[in-house]
Amino acid sequence: MPWAARSVGGYLVSGQPWIEIAGDLTVHRAAELLPVLLDTLRTGSVVCLDLSAAQRIDTAGVQLLLVLRREALAHSVNLRLAGLRPELREVVDFYGLQDVVMSEV
């Protein structure tokens, strides 16, 4: 886990470990990604996920993020998702789920 100050979306966050999630958020990878994502919630009370490696998102991917958000809330983990590429963010917005899924860092 890289410890570093990262600038994400114009905000500087220092001292937080960023967990980079590799690969696309699609149905092809969803089953594989689920345990990986859930595991990140165990790393601390504040978890920052860097999604910039994802080039695609589909409905399965959106659902993954929803589930992750829900589990974070249930376990009182402050989950921050950042780095989502504009074209992927656009899908989340299209579904009207930006408030549920995303949070600003």
Binding site: D24, T26, V27, H28, A30, A31, L33, L34, L38, Q55, R56, I57, D58, T59, A60, V62, Q63, L64, L66, V67, R70, E71, E87, L88, V91, F94, Y95, G96, L97, V100
Partner: protein, 604 residues
């Protein structure tokens, strides 16, 4: 799979994906070549179309085997279009060729992506694919099956509006490469999508969450000039795997109602009518017809309107409207639609006010020539409106006689069958307007008299024939005004009432001394006594609980009387007379003044 060369034989077993990729590229080459040939030489159509179809069909099959759902689905789209091409349902024009070529290119892109380990091909590829699919969809209008061949395509509505769309996909669509986002995006080609919400309340708890299943469902508004079928067609490829509800804008629904009113009155079936005006799509109608005739289906046997409403294809109040228009009683009983129960005080008050208003309007007319033209005009208008209101009041107060007696035909038929007697019923005066207040009581009374006639009056066919009478009994019910009275007659050509039998019965019951003198009229009067009935036939009518005494009583309550005439062997006639005022205006007044008459008032 076909092998083009020996050198590949070994690698197939080692890596199916590689083989799939190589083979598919070849098929796409062939596909492209065929397309260009066919465009240049249309005369080779028949075999060419078959080969085109087969190339895509093969790619689709192989993609399924190596688990490339996106490629499989897209090849399927192309295959469907090619199938219609070879069936002669679409023509290979320039635009279609361009689209198909673009489709081939996109497949190549997908194959490359699969080769480099990125199935799907990237975000922009998705958008391209969605666009292509959207452009190909019009070539897939479904042909209709026989039951609805009478359909006329829905005329496009000249007005647009805000449609409400909700769609729930089957859970397995994601695995099949059918992502909701394609279809929802494609709606944007029909107009402006707003308020799209992905609902997550069906997301299961973690333990039962399958990341490859679809749990989200969607609601949105679409501002569009398209018609319902066009909107439905956006989802053409996924119709069998989703629940789609399309609700039209209020302006469009208003247009439907208007078109319903303008439909010619011939017996067009409800389902076809709704389809004609665009309120349901051909597919929705077909689905409803299938449910109706499928004996296993929960909606089996319901009226088509009810099924369409239950399946969410049409708003239930629109169906009711159509049903009224069609006089179709399967959706709602006419009586339920046509009547309400009201508190009698409210109605009484309203009618009294209307009458007083009529009086004032009448007086005002006397001053018309003494006032300025403005006020004179207003008085004129008021008079006309008051006349309208009085007419409305009259209609509230009266009812067509036929309406009050509508149960008679059925009763005659049912009881006749039960008793084994053949009877013809004639009604006279059905169009007469009778006081609604009286109608219900009179209707009951007549019904009982009719039953009585069937039971005791009309003989069985054998007896009638033996007596030289016509084999079928004749029962007539007539209603008419005679001066200030409403007269109802129930007459039969049966066996008549035997006064001697009456006398014997009266003596038996201790109502008369043996040998006492009584006129025929007095004897006949005894049949109205409670519990008095001819012993021989008591059994048949037992259990009905209503005797001639009740008939007389209810007529008396209306201020009227019952008389009976009879001729032994030839028949019997009952006459009910009730007083009614001769004019509607008097009627309102007298009813208002004699408020005791409202004690039984029900408008029903």
């Amino acid at each position: 799979m076909q092998f083009a060369g020996d050198e590949r034989a070994g690698s197939y077993l080692e890596n199916p994906l590689d083989t799939f990729l190589a083979e598919s590229h070849e098929h796409i080459e062939l596909f492209e070549k065929l397309l260009l040939d066919l465009e240049a030489h249309p005369e080779a159509a028949a075999e060419g179309f078959g080969a085109l179809f087969r190339s895509m069909h093969t790619i689709k099959g192989m993609a399924g085997m190596v688990e490339q759902p996106t490629i499989e689905f897209f090849a399927h789209v192309l295959e469907e279009v090619l199938d219609r091409l070879r069936a002669g349902q679409v023509r290979l024009e320039r635009e279609l060729v361009s689209l198909l070529l673009a489709g081939g290119d996109h497949l190549r892109l997908l194959l490359s992506a699969a080769a480099s380990g990125q199935p799907g091909g990237g975000e922009f590829a998705d958008a391209d694919r969605a666009r292509l699919i959207g452009a190909l969809t019009p070539y897939l209008e479904s042909a209709m099956a026989a039951p609805v061949t009478a359909l006329v395509p829905a005329t496009p509505m000249p007005v647009g509006g805000r449609w409400q769309v909700s769609v729930r996909f089957d859970p397995h669509v994601l695995r099949q490469g059918l992502d909701p986002v394609y279809f929802l995006r494609h709606l944007e080609s029909l107009g402006r999508v707003s308020g799209l919400k992905a609902h997550a309340d069906a997301m299961p708890p973690l333990a039962s969450y399958d990341p490859e299943q679809c749990y989200l469902y969607f609601t949105l508004q679409l501002d569009s000039m398209a018609d319902k079928t066009a909107i439905e067609q956006v989802f053409a490829f996924v119709l069998e795997a989703c629940e789609l509800r399309i609700k039209a804008p209020p302006e469009i629904e208003a247009g439907w109602r208007e078109r319903l009113e303008n439909q010619p009155d011939d017996a067009q079936r409800l389902g076809e009518l709704l389809c004609d005006i665009g309120a349901v799509t051909p597919r929705e109608l077909q689905r409803a017809l299938a449910a109706q005739s499928d004996s296993e289906h929960p909606l089996h046997g319901l009226g088509i309107g009810a099924i369409l409403a239950r399946q969410g294809a049409v708003a239930s109040d629109l169906v009711t409207e159509v049903a009224i228009h069609q006089q179709e009683s399967r959706v709602r009983q006419p009586a339920e639609v046509a009547s309400v129960r009201v508190p009698r005080e409210a109605l009484e008050h309203l009618l009294s006010t209307v009458f007083n208003l009529a009086g004032v309007a009448h007086n005002a007319r006397h001053y018309q020539d003494r006032v300025g033209p403005g006020l004179a005009g207003e008085i004129e208008a008021m008079s006309a409106l008051t006349a309208d209101a009085m007419e409305g009041a009259r209609r509230l107060l009266t009812q067509r006689a036929g309406e009050a007696f509508r149960r008679l035909y059925r009763a005659v038929r049912d009881l006749g069958t039960q008793l084994g007697k053949a009877v013809d019923l004639t009604l006279e005066g059905e169009d007469l307007e009778i006081d609604r207040l009286q109608a219900e009581s009179l209707g009951e009374a007549v019904l009982h008299l009719v039953r009585n006639a069937l039971d005791h009056g009309i003989e069985s066919t054998a007896v009638r024939v033996a007596a030289g009478k016509a084999p079928r009994g004749r029962l007539s019910v007539s209603v008419a005004y005679e001066g200030n009275e409403l007269v109802l007659c129930v007459a039969d050509d049966g066996c008549g009432i035997d006064c001697e039998a009456l006398r014997a019965r009266a003596v038996e019951r201790g109502l008369m001394r043996e040998g006492a003198q009584r006129s025929e009229a007095a004897l006949l009067d005894m049949i109205f006594m409670p519990g008095f009935s001819t012993a021989a036939t008591a059994g048949r009518t037992s259990g009905r609980g209503v005797g001639l005494d009740v008939v007389r009583q209810s007529v008396r309550e209306l201020g009227g009387s019952v008389q009976v005439e009879t001729e032994l062997g030839h028949g019997t006639r009952f006459m009910l007379r009730v007083p009614v005022p001769s004019k509607a205006a008097d009627h309102v007044a007298s009813n208002v003044l004699r408020s005791s008459r409202f004690s039984n008032y029900k408008v029903a």
